[in-house]
């Protein structure tokens, strides 16, 4: 078993094995994403309170979910890299960070676009917005540390440890920000009575969430492949690959 993991997780093996995976993930993300968007933008009923502008949730909510999910993946694979010294796990962690940061950024931008017609302002110091912003900062800190350390292996370990510390902190930050907001000002704009979501809205939302996950899987594999090529640029298997071109 252990031997098998070692062999499978070698960058060379990964480089060839990931090709069909990327293909299928991309096709899946495209098909499910297009169908989800069609259902969300054309089929789902108009919201009786928010009108048409609620439809941004089909991008906004999956992006916000993904920003947290990618952080968990990043920290978990960084932990695997630190504990079992599997280089592929380090590559996946390093490849995930910019994607997760982009998801967090996308969630913030779509949220503020939605906030303008709904709340009358692009930015409100709402608990969820604030913790999403802090999550973005955590990603940026991880990336800064990763690029500041010259030696690749210790850069991976150091930023991986930071990601794990971040995971311990995320729930604390989340709940303290939530409490901060409710203590400061009673929730007035942000907490209108939300009807439980209609099933015609829920299905496209879930489809989009699946599409975003597949999209992330495809992108992280592509980025990890590049990472593998770059890090092993002086090894034989990469040299042989280049000679074949």
């Amino acid at each position: 078993m252990w031997h098998w993991i070692q062999r499978f997780s070698s960058p060379k093996h990964f480089y060839t094995m990931s090709v069909p995976l990327i293909k299928w993930f991309t096709v899946g993300a495209l098909l499910i994403g297009l169908y989800g968007l069609y259902l969300g933008l054309f089929v789902a009923p108009t919201d009786y309170q928010q009108g048409e502008s609620y439809r941004i949730i089909f991008i906004h909510v999956p992006a916000a979910w993904m920003s947290l999910f990618v952080y968990m993946v990043m920290a978990a694979s960084a932990g695997i890299g630190i504990i079992w010294q599997i280089r592929l796990a380090d590559m996946v962690a390093a490849a995930s960070a910019p994607i997760g940061a982009s998801f967090a950024f996308l969630a913030l931008v779509t949220g503020s676009l939605w906030g303008k017609p709904m709340w009358g302002a692009y930015w409100v110091w709402d608990a969820r917005l604030t913790s999403e912003l802090i999550l973005l900062f955590l990603y940026l800190g991880y990336m800064a540390l990763q690029s500041a350390i010259e030696d690749q292996r210790s850069a991976d370990k150091a930023s991986g440890l930071l990601a794990i510390v971040g995971v311990v902190n995320i729930p604390i930050i989340h709940y303290s920000v939530e409490w901060w907001n409710t203590l400061h000002q009673g929730a007035t704009v942000t907490k209108f009575d939300k009807p439980s979501i209609h099933v015609d809205m829920l299905i496209p939302l879930l489809l989009m969430a699946v599409a975003f996950k597949l999209f992330y899987a495809a992108i992280v594999l592509i980025r990890a492949r590049n990472e593998a090529l770059y890090r092993d640029r002086n090894r034989r298997w990469v040299r042989e690959l280049i000679e074949q071109l």
Binding site: I149, L162, V165, N169, V177
Partner: protein
């Protein structure tokens, strides 16, 4: 084990006391930053009072952040950090000793000078008392979490900005509850919730942060 703890603690204290002018720097910085706010915003007591908890807490946070360098930098440069890691004593205990020394040298002075700043910002007496309590519970956490960041960046050239980038997001809960406790105290409401939360975070970070710091130090040393 306990002997090693006390030995390292007193060594760090003695080293710092022989370098007294450096010791006062974070304290002067703390007072100076707080002084900037009445000048920049407005000196009217009512406005000062409303910003006081936040201003004092942010300044304390920055003062601790700037002093974190002292925690491992010198030991890293002269090689004694490597010797500490080679010693048979558990690194967690040694880290805890160094963090304790750091807090006694920077956090505690901030707590002691805080009443003066409360006076500057025309805080009422009961708020000043809560400010002292909140700083007393909060500043050790700042040192403990900061130790993780310093041990990761100590070998990086010009790691100062990087350190604040990775550490400040982790400081946010402390800032929220510390400043909020003082805020609530000014309104005459009970503050035990906020102080208990700070205590809980302190207990959590005393038990976990030295572990993370010692792993980080080994990563830094293996370079």
């Amino acid at each position: 084990m306990l002997k090693a703890y006390y030995y390292l603690l007193f060594r760090d204290l003695r080293l710092a006391l022989r370098n007294r002018h450096e010791l006062a720097n974070p304290l002067i910085f703390f007072v100076l930053v707080v002084t900037l706010f009445p000048l920049a915003v407005t000196p009217t007591p009512e406005t000062l009072q409303t910003m006081a908890p936040g201003v004092i807490w942010v300044s304390a946070l920055l003062a601790v952040l700037l002093s974190l360098d002292r925690l491992f930098k010198q030991d890293y440069e002269d090689g004694s950090l490597d010797q500490l890691m080679l010693s048979p004593n558990p690194l967690v205990i040694l880290v805890l000793a160094k963090v304790t020394a750091h807090w006694l040298l920077t956090g505690l002075p901030l707590v002691i000078i805080a009443p003066l700043l409360g006076l500057f910002m025309s805080l009422p007496m009961e708020a000043v008392i809560v400010l002292i309590y909140s700083l007393l519970l909060g500043t050790p956490v700042l040192s403990l979490i900061g130790a993780i960041g310093v041990s990761l960046t100590v070998a990086v050239n010009r790691g100062g900005v990087l350190l604040s980038l990775i550490i400040l997001p982790l400081y946010i809960p402390i800032l929220i509850f510390g400043a909020n406790a003082v805020d609530v105290a000014m309104a005459g409401l009970p503050v035990s919730g906020q102080l208990l939360f700070l205590g809980a975070v302190l207990a959590l970070s005393v038990s976990l942060a030295p572990l993370a710091t010692s792993v980080a130090l080994r990563i830094t040393a293996s370079r």
